[in-house]
């Protein structure tokens, strides 16, 4: 059975084609999300099918997830990204007991039971301080691309102290640090630590290992280390973290 999972996030849209008979991903694609979600997703879906040499009729079921999940008319079912990331991560790393997912506009901590199912979750539900958007605003201030943040963080000698819990105020702090000639790497490391503190606070101090880090922000080097330090334990980054939500959706599509 061929299924498709589509994760329509606030920043990017991810498409995964999955062959359930072979339990194998047979096509994947990531592109920027656009305002006209439905048309854009249709185009991406067609592109993914073409690249994998399939036609629409070859796909048995489509499950959508992410913030745009309800805007796709050809979806057979919608499932939240919380469940989808859990299924996707546990498919790749079945021993997982805790998942940290940081996306463009929110972050989640998901607890997994012994059967690979969600047993509890917490989500930042108000501000952007624990999300990828926080890093984006810092990247803009430092005049560096998002994928350049990790390189800067690696050069950090001492993480700068960011005291504010609010993105807007933290931006002011970053401007102040730049004015004081604090190295950009130290600032990025400080921001990563601040973000990690916010996310780990969602766990209420309870994070059962093994802990797996997923979502788009997991691709930025230094973030997993910052989370591990705050969590006082190991944090493993899943392979292709940006795709786990769409992968989970595709697997759930196969389960029916």
């Amino acid at each position: 059975m061929i299924t498709c999972g589509i994760d329509i996030g606030s920043r990017t849209t991810k498409v995964v084609l999955y062959d359930s008979n072979r339990a194998k991903v047979i096509g994947a694609l990531v592109a920027d999300s656009q305002l006209d979600r439905s048309d854009n997703v249709q185009r991406l879906f067609d592109r993914a099918l073409k690249a994998a040499k399939f036609r629409r009729k070859d796909v048995d079921r489509v499950v959508t997830t992410g913030y745009g999940r309800e805007s796709i008319p050809f979806a057979d079912q919608t499932v939240t990204e919380i469940t989808c990331h859990a299924v996707g991560v546990c498919h790749l790393l079945p021993e997982t007991r805790s998942i940290i997912e940081i996306g463009g506009q929110d972050s989640k901590v998901i607890r997994i039971d012994g059967q690979g199912k969600v047993s509890d979750f917490a989500m930042n539900d108000r501000c952007a301080a624990g999300t990828g958007r926080f890093l984006e605003s810092v990247a803009r201030l430092l005049d560096v691309k998002m994928d350049g943040l990790g390189g800067l963080a690696r050069r950090a000698k001492k993480a700068a102290t960011i005291s504010s819990m609010c993105v807007v105020f933290a931006e002011s702090e970053v401007i102040g640090l730049l004015a004081r000639k604090v190295p950009r790497g130290d600032i990025v490391a400080g921001i990563q630590r601040s973000l990690a503190t916010r996310v780990i606070s969602l766990t209420g101090g309870k994070l059962t290992p093994p802990v797996v880090f997923t979502g788009g922000v997991a691709m930025i080097s230094g973030m997993a280390g910052a989370l591990a330090r705050e969590a006082h334990g190991k944090v493993k980054v899943v392979k292709q973290p940006v795709l786990t939500g769409a992968l989970g959706a595709a697997i759930l599509a196969a389960r029916g």
């Binding site: 913030y67 919380i82 509890d120």
Partner: protein, 479 residues
């Protein structure tokens, strides 16, 4: 003259307008408030859209129970402002009650010359008016910004004087009261409004905090030192005198006993309603109307006699549905015990839209749902109720109440709602969540519900859907 309700459903404002035309006018004319003063008595039944047109814009986003009893309930709620004005015109003294939930109104309504209402109910005005009322802006201008609880809307309402008649006397509980609420009440007093302050003591765990040997058991099953009861009774005696001085009469024990008896009548109706609505499958009444019914118990909606008739009418409807096994929600909704009232009423609809239903509540005033002991002297009985207030005790006590509700109504999970800037205890949510998870193994989710959820509704939808996906898995495991 006959009218039969259609099959139960949740309907929009526009659908209610269409249905309204089918209800015999003479039948609705019989639904009147202030019946005891014929010249002040009025029929209050109108199309709900009339309230929408006069500024209650949030009504346009809600889904309503389609029964006549529900229409009556909504109209009764939405006519409280003119009703208070009519009472005043008829010579009644208006008492603003703050902080204590449910006990002081029983005392005020024991007098035949006083009417009580909760001015802090204005915290719902920004929601109903979809922020078009500017109450928050007025509070902002007074230096009470959005880092304060939405109860700051009350300050705005006292300043602009557009939402209720300014009370002749405010009776406000202090002591075991959160800082924000206390600050708002003091700012209102600072404007020159008359206040009678009385102290709500904190109900500490007797074993840990007191050396006194003489403990009493409260109606909620908790224990407290006997001297705390004596103290509270003295406070309520002051309140009794204050009400009497304002109305120019002596509030006797016999008057209080009659008031307690009437309050208990109302509480029995609501207890039956809660038991049917939260415990029956298929679900015979929606969460939104039940929230209003529960709220009426604490404030009587400014007419205690009509409040009883309104609640009885709704109970009859719900009983009929339960007997016929008629549900208002489709399918097999996920059963959730809901903790804390929401700032935006739309949230209760959203819970049901996403496939859930309310199976038990703990809206911070569970003591007001319990019967006041009529066998005790009235001031003592009322003091016992004051001391049973969940807000003056530990979070652990509230957690036990939540557990009790969840067990009684076979809830599959618990949702704790928070209001940005508001909490009488900052860590209460996590304390309750931990205890519920540990003792009952139930999933718990905390959600933040602002005065208007529209901007964040996608996030709330995701949280609810994910919670129900989790409950679905648990159902699968049980099967």
């Amino acid at each position: 003259m006959k009218y039969e309700d259609p099959a139960p459903a949740r309907i929009s404002l526009a659908e209610w307008d269409r249905l309204f035309g089918k209800i015999p006018k003479r039948m609705m004319d019989d639904f009147r408030y202030i019946r005891e003063i014929p010249k002040a008595s009025r029929s209050y039944m109108v199309r709900l859209s009339r309230h929408f047109r006069t500024g209650d814009r949030r009504l346009g986003s809600l889904l309503y129970d389609n029964s006549l009893a529900s229409l009556r309930l909504w109209n009764f709620l939405l006519t409280e402002e003119p009703r208070l004005a009519d009472w005043r015109a008829a010579g009644r003294k208006i008492f603003g009650v703050m902080k204590d939930l449910g006990t002081i109104p029983v005392m005020v309504y024991s007098s035949r010359k006083g009417v009580a209402f909760y001015p802090d109910g204005a915290w719902w005005v920004p929601c109903f008016k979809e922020m078009g009322d500017e109450l928050f802006k007025i509070a902002d201008a007074e230096g009470v910004g959005d880092d304060c609880c939405p109860v700051r809307a009350t300050l705005g309402a006292f300043i602009n004087g557009r939402h209720f008649p300014i009370p002749d006397l405010n009776i406000a509980g202090v002591g075991s009261c959160c800082n924000d609420f206390s600050a708002v009440m003091q700012r209102i007093a600072g404007l020159g409004h008359r206040f009678l302050w009385w102290e709500l003591p904190y109900r500490k765990d007797p074993k840990r905090w007191y050396h006194a040997k003489d403990f009493i058991t409260l109606p909620n099953g908790e224990k407290c030192p006997a001297n705390l009861l004596q103290f509270t009774m003295r406070q309520l005696e002051r309140v009794r005198r204050g009400i009497g001085e304002e109305t120019g009469e002596t509030i006797t024990d016999a008057m209080l006993s009659r008031g307690i008896h009437k309050a208990n009548r109302m509480r029995r109706i609501v207890a039956r309603l809660r038991s049917l609505a939260y415990g029956t499958v298929p679900v015979p009444a929606a969460a939104l109307e039940l929230l209003i019914c529960e709220m009426i118990v604490i404030h009587f909606c400014s007419d205690s006699d009509e409040a009883i008739r309104v609640l009885e009418h709704f109970l009859n409807t719900v009983q009929r549905r339960a007997a016929l096994k008629q549900g208002i929600l489709p399918g097999n909704p996920y059963r959730v015990t809901w903790v804390n009232p929401v700032a935006d009423l739309r949230m209760m609809n959203l819970l049901e839209d996403m496939g859930g239903c309310v199976a038990g509540t703990e809206y911070l005033f569970s003591h007001a749902l319990e019967l006041i002991p009529e066998e005790r002297p009235p001031i003592e009985a009322l003091a016992l109720m004051v001391l049973s207030d969940p807000m003056i005790g530990s979070s652990e006590y509230r957690a036990r109440r939540v557990l009790e509700e969840a067990r009684k109504n076979r809830a599959e999970g618990v949702i704790i709602s928070r209001i940005p800037g508001a909490s009488h205890c900052a860590f209460e949510g996590s304390v309750i969540a931990d205890i519920v998870k540990k003792r009952a193994g139930l999933p718990v989710m905390e959600v933040t519900v602002p005065s208007l959820i529209d901007a964040g509704s996608m996030k709330l939808r995701t949280q609810l859907q994910a919670f129900f996906e989790m409950l679905d898995f648990r159902r699968g495991k049980r099967r």
